[in-house]
Structure formats: C-alpha cells, structure tokens
C-alpha cells in the first residue's frame, strides 16, 4: 500500500492567494481566468521537493524553500539611492523600477523615448495595450511548472515594454526588480515580478533586467519574463541576478522568435542561496537566432542552476549556449543545456558549451549539455569542462613577480573576462566588473590546494 503525499507547501500560499484574489478582483475576466487556472496547476504540483525521478530537480534540493513561510504584499519603502548602490544604474537609461512586484512611477526614470512604450504591467492590463491579452502568460504560466504557475496565479503588476515597428531606441531600457527591506529584519516576502517585452518588426532594443534585494533575510522571488521578437527584431538582453545569500530566486524567461529575429542574452548570476535561471527560446520561423550566455559565481553554500533550452522549430536557425562558472567553498552549480532540433528544422546550427573553474574540494558542478535532433541536416556541437587553476600558468605568473594570491586572482578574472566583455553598456560593464573584482577575494578565501592542478 502506498500513501499519497500531498503537494508540498501549497497551504503556505493558499491564504495569500485567496486574499489576493479578493483584493484585486477589479481586473479583466481574462486575467482572472489565467490566475485561477495557474493556481489550480500550482495546487496540484506544489513546490517540487521530490528529486528522485524528477530530472528537472535532480540536483537541487528545494525542501528548505518548501519549509519557509513568506508574506505576500508590498514591504517597506525603497529609496533611489539604495537602488543605485545595489545594482547597475545610468541616468541616461530608460529605467522602470518594480518594488516587491509592484511598479513604482516615482522611482522609475523614463526619458520619453520615441517608439518605446514602457509602463507598469497593471496599466498595460487595465488599458488592454497592444496584444497584451493574447500575449500575457501565453509563453509562461499555462504549463505544468510549479513556479510559473505560482507566479502567474499572483500576476497583477510588473513592467511592460513595447517597441513600435521599425523603432530603434538608442539607450538601454533597464528594469529593476527590487525586494524591499521591510525594516523587520526577520521577515520574508514572496514576490512575483513580471516583465513582458513586445519587440516590433525590425526593431533594435537593449534591455537590462536586474534583480536586487535590500533585505538581509530570506526572500522568495519568482520572476517571469516573456519576450516576443517579431520578424527582424533584435533584442539584446542582459540579466543581473544579485539577491542576498539567504534568498531564493527561481526565474523563468520564455522567448518566442519569428523570422530573422535575434535574441542575445547574457546573464550575470551571483546571488541567492538557490537561484535558477530557466530560459527557453523558441525559434519559430526561419532565420531566427539566439545566443544564451552567462557567467555564474558561487561561494559558501550557494547553488546556481542554469536551465537553458532552445527549440529549433523551423529551418535555418542558429543557437549558441555558452556559460562559464567559478565555484568555491561548498557551493554547487548546475548547467542543464538542452537543444531540440525538430524534424522540419533543417540547416540548424546549434552549439552548447559550459566551462567551469572549481577552486575548492567542496565545490560541485553538474553539467549536462544535451542535444535532441530529429532533422538530418544539422550542425551541432556540445561540450562541458570542469578544471582547476593551472599550476604551470600559476608558476609562469609567479616567475614574473606576481604573488600566488594575485596570480590566482588574475587567472580567475581572465577566465571571466570574455563574458564580462559582453556587457556592452558602459555603466553595466562597470557594475559587473566591480562585483566580480569584489567577489574574487571571497572565492579565493574559500579555495584550497585542490583548486590548483
């Protein structure tokens, strides 16, 4: 006889969902239907705590998350100075600030750029702007996945960005997702930040998405980003993920690409106790191409998961996944890269690469690049490595007068450099560079002799 187990931790969210539904009943019926459907899905799934036979969570233990209680709703106030200190910032950018999932007009800094609609998601929903009714939760939120379901059950605000056909906003558009410090240091909050990007025909947009956290206690963030790249659209996307080391970040990005569109994304992932960056690009028309790149650095007992997948649905599309990881202490990283080339998708070109630098005995990387190819005329390559600081290289630097610690720092920095280089906007590069330079001594302090081979 077997005992059926109830889906984990659903009860921890049900009261919040009930009061949320009552409090924000004044929304279009189509949205209510989406929320209720998503809640039903989450109620069946619960927080995924089962790892056996569960490929998606095989290397990630979410029981600590399932055990925690999170409040829902807006927390304390946030100042512009706090935001500028915690994340990238440039006065020249079009910046949208979302605090605890709620858009803040006061903190946002919009330039009135022509061709750009940058508004709160709540406003986009109530005014029915563009194709929002057909787009929202069409790429993420209706599938059997606990975190997009939970996030979608609570969808009401966030940021909405639309770029008009043929527009080419020269300056980056920055979306800051910030979790407030409620003042009560022990309190934990769940937020469901949401971003919808509608890039019109033949547009060029640079989008920076940053996730920062002003609280010191454990917070839960389940961001969901949906990107629609119309024919000829180029979206240059940057993602900076920096929550405190007690927090949980389970982020989902879903991208639909039409003819000759480009989606080039680079992630800088250094924060949270457990962070997952789950990104999927759907190459839905010929000539679409995507690059999904990222750098992750972990120390202490942090875990960083990169769940990266691309589907080549049509011919002549290109995808390129390239991640690098630097791990120290007892930290853990997972790279799960998947490329599916469907039967119709002839002349596809797909590459996957994950390179890791392990600085300590206790650090662990689970890398599983995989290709599923159903077409016969395809170019594909994949690979993953885990290495240590090379002794010969170290000796070379030392023989020139650089001490061992500095030499290691130079080598780690050199390893990261090619990905840091991808962060083109100046203020953004300066930020990721600063965080990396501050992080390297922490990584080195937790390294041991085994990190050199």
């Amino acid at each position: 006889m077997t005992t059926a187990t109830l889906p984990a931790a659903v009860d921890k969210y049900s009261d919040a969902f009930a009061s949320f539904s009552d409090a924000s009943a004044d929304v279009p019926e189509w949205l209510k239907a989406i929320r209720n459907q998503a809640w039903a899905t989450f109620s069946e799934l619960g927080i995924p705590v089962k790892r056996r036979g569960n490929e998606l969570w095989k290397y990630t233990d979410l029981r600590p998350l399932a055990a925690l209680d999170f409040e829902y709703g807006s927390g304390g106030s946030v100042s512009l100075d706090e935001i500028k200190a915690a994340g990238p910032w440039d006065d020249a950018w079009d910046t949208l600030v979302v605090v605890d999932g709620v858009f803040s007009a006061e903190l946002s800094n919009l330039q009135g750029t022509s061709g750009l609609t940058a508004i709160s998601l709540a406003e986009a929903i109530s005014s029915g702007v563009g194709d929002i009714e057909s787009q929202l939760a069409s790429l993420a939120g209706r599938e059997e996945y606990a975190f997009t379901a939970l996030s979608t059950a609570f969808v009401d605000d966030g940021a909405y960005i639309a770029i008009a056909d043929d527009a080419d906003p020269a300056t980056p558009i920055h979306v800051v997702f910030v979790t407030s410090n409620s003042g009560n240091s022990g309190s934990s909050r769940a937020s469901y930040p949401r971003l919808l990007i509608d890039a019109g025909v033949n547009t060029l947009a640079v989008i920076i998405e940053s996730h920062i956290n002003l609280a010191e206690s454990a917070q839960l963030s389940l961001p969901v980003v949906e990107v629609f790249a119309k024919p000829g659209a180029t979206v240059r996307h940057y993602r900076v993920q920096m929550e405190n080391e007690h927090s949980y970040h389970l982020g989902t990005t879903r991208v639909q690409q039409l003819n000759d569109s480009s989606f080039n994304s680079t992630t800088f992932a250094v924060g949270a106790a457990i962070a997952r960056n789950d990104i999927h690009t759907q190459l839905d028309a010929p000539g679409a191409n995507c690059t999904l790149h990222g750098l992750y650095m972990t120390s202490g007992t942090q875990q960083q998961d990169q769940e990266i997948s691309t589907t080549h649905a049509k011919p002549h599309c290109t995808s390129n996944q390239f991640y690098k990881g630097i791990l120290s202490g007892k930290s853990h990283a997972v790279f799960s890269g998947k490329v599916v080339v469907e039967r119709d998708a002839q002349k596809s070109d797909a590459t996957q690469k994950d390179l890791n630098l392990l600085l300590s005995r206790g650090a662990e990387i689970d890398a599983k690049p995989s290709l599923e190819i159903y077409a016969d005329d395809v170019t594909a390559a994949h690979g993953a490595t885990a290495g240590h600081v090379d002794r010969d290289t170290l000796f070379y630097l030392q023989s020139r007068g650089v001490d061992e610690e500095s030499a290691k720092a130079i080598l780690i920095r050199g390893f990261a450099e090619e990905l840091l280089d991808e962060f083109k906007p100046e203020a953004l590069y300066a930020f990721v560079e600063k965080v990396t330079d501050e992080r390297i001594p922490v990584l080195l302090a937790e390294s041991d002799a085994l990190g050199t081979a």
Partner: protein
C-alpha cells in the same frame, strides 16, 4: 651574482627521481653562460629549480643570489630580487592582456622593494616603447596573453617582458626550441641589446645555433645531472661538430 654549490634536486613526491646530481656553477656580474646538454640531462630542471618551481625539491646544496640563499624564497620573491625565467613553452592565459599582467608584475615588485608604483601613464609609455623596440605587433598585445600566438610571437612576447622587467639575471630555458632563424634572431637581438656589465644571462640550449647569435663568455656541458665540462665559446662549436656522445659515454663510465 649567482652561485650554485653542490645542488641536488628531485621531482617532488617521487622516490629515486634525482635529476640534478651535484651542480657547481658561478655566474659573475655581466657574464653570459651557456648551458648545453642532450635531452634529459637536467638543463630545463636546473632553470626551473633556480626560479623555484614547486614540482622540484632541492635535496642538497645551496643557491645564492648576491650572497643570500634563495632556496626558501617563492618564485615571485626571486623575481623581486631581479631573477627572470624565459620559458620554453610560455603559458597561454585567456582573458589576461600582456599590458595588465606586466603592470601587475611591476607593481608587485615595487611593493616588495618598498618603492613607489609606476603610474598608469608612465607605464603605458614604457610599455609602448618596449613593444616598438621588440618589434611585436601592437595588435597582438591587445589580445589575451600568448593565446593564439605563434611560436615566434610567444618568444617575442617573452623578450617584451624581459625588456619591461629589466632583471639582473635572466635565465633562458631553451628559448630557441621550435624557432626558425628569424625568430632566433629576435631572441638573440633581445638578449644582445640587454647585455650590460650589470646584467647576467644563463642561456640553456640543446643546439649550438643560438650561440651563433649570442656569444657566451662561458659554456658548460651538462650530462646526467652534472656539469662535465666547462670552457669558452669554442666548446659549443666542438659539441656542434661531434655531438654529446663522448660525454654520455664518459658519464656512463663514471656512474
């Protein structure tokens, strides 16, 4: 300047792996010494032991530099004293630009010797001058250190470092291996232009050909971990003619 007395060295953690079996060598200020020997004689080991490579363990003897024993010093500390090793196979270092790396090296040295660090501006000036002097392609030094460099470019880059760091003792570990005549000339020009009464060189080589371009003051023949013969530049020519065979046979008899 450099004095090696009865130096014995083995590979770390491997029993009966003694490679250097009692080396005695004195290099005076401004002198150029060539160390020649067949493969496996311990030439490269000697060069690496002098610089403090961690794969080797000194089991007996001593090495002094300007009168002080250096065996307990780390490689970077030896570099701070003015020692330099040009590598047979310089490491490729992705993401690290030659400029950045040399600035770090000079800064460490300045810090160790309690002198003021060079300003970025002055360093840039010096660096550009040396790039021109060595004849290295300026585009090349904007790339990652040694990554994708040809054999000749790597050696040129070693000469660039030699020029910037201005050591008082430079050890060249088979710097001529795998080089064509043009590249060989570059290395030789680098060394010759830096020869001075204040600077010494140890040129480790298998072949005599490098010594056509760099005229040594003293030539040593190293066989099976021992220096078996010392002489003037004519010794190198002799080896070129008759090879190492007779020395190997003698070493066999003496063993």
């Amino acid at each position: 300047m450099l004095e090696i007395t009865n130096l014995h060295a083995s590979v770390v953690d491997i029993e009966d792996s003694e490679i250097l079996k009692g080396i005695d060598l004195k290099v005076g200020k401004g002198e150029v010494h060539a160390i020649m020997g067949p493969n496996g004689s311990g030439k490269s080991t000697l060069a690496n032991v002098l610089m403090g490579r961690f794969d080797y363990e000194v089991t007996a003897g001593d090495v002094t530099f300007d009168g002080e024993s250096i065996l307990k010093l780390r490689p970077d500390q030896r570099a701070h004293l003015g020692m330099f090793l040009a590598f047979q196979y310089p490491a490729e270092i992705p993401g690290v630009r030659p400029w950045q790396f040399l600035k770090a090296a000079l800064d460490s040295k300045a810090e160790a010797n309690s002198v003021e660090k060079m300003t970025v501006r002055n360093f840039s000036k010096l660096f550009d001058e040396k790039v021109e002097a060595v004849g290295i392609n300026p585009q090349l030094v904007k790339r990652s250190l040694n990554e994708g460099f040809s054999g000749g470019e790597k050696k040129r880059n070693e000469m660039l470092q030699l020029e910037v760091l201005q050591p008082s003792l430079a050890i060249l570990d088979e710097t001529d291996s795998g080089l064509d005549v043009d590249a060989l000339r570059i290395v030789a020009e680098g060394v010759n232009s830096m020869r001075s009464p204040e600077r010494s060189f140890i040129v480790v080589t298998h072949y005599q050909r490098l010594l056509n371009y760099i005229t040594p003051d003293v030539v040593h023949i190293l066989v099976k971990g021992r220096i078996v013969k010392t002489g003037g530049p004519e010794l190198a020519l002799e080896v070129e003619k008759s090879g190492y065979k007779q020395y190997l046979e003698e070493a066999e008899v003496n063993a």
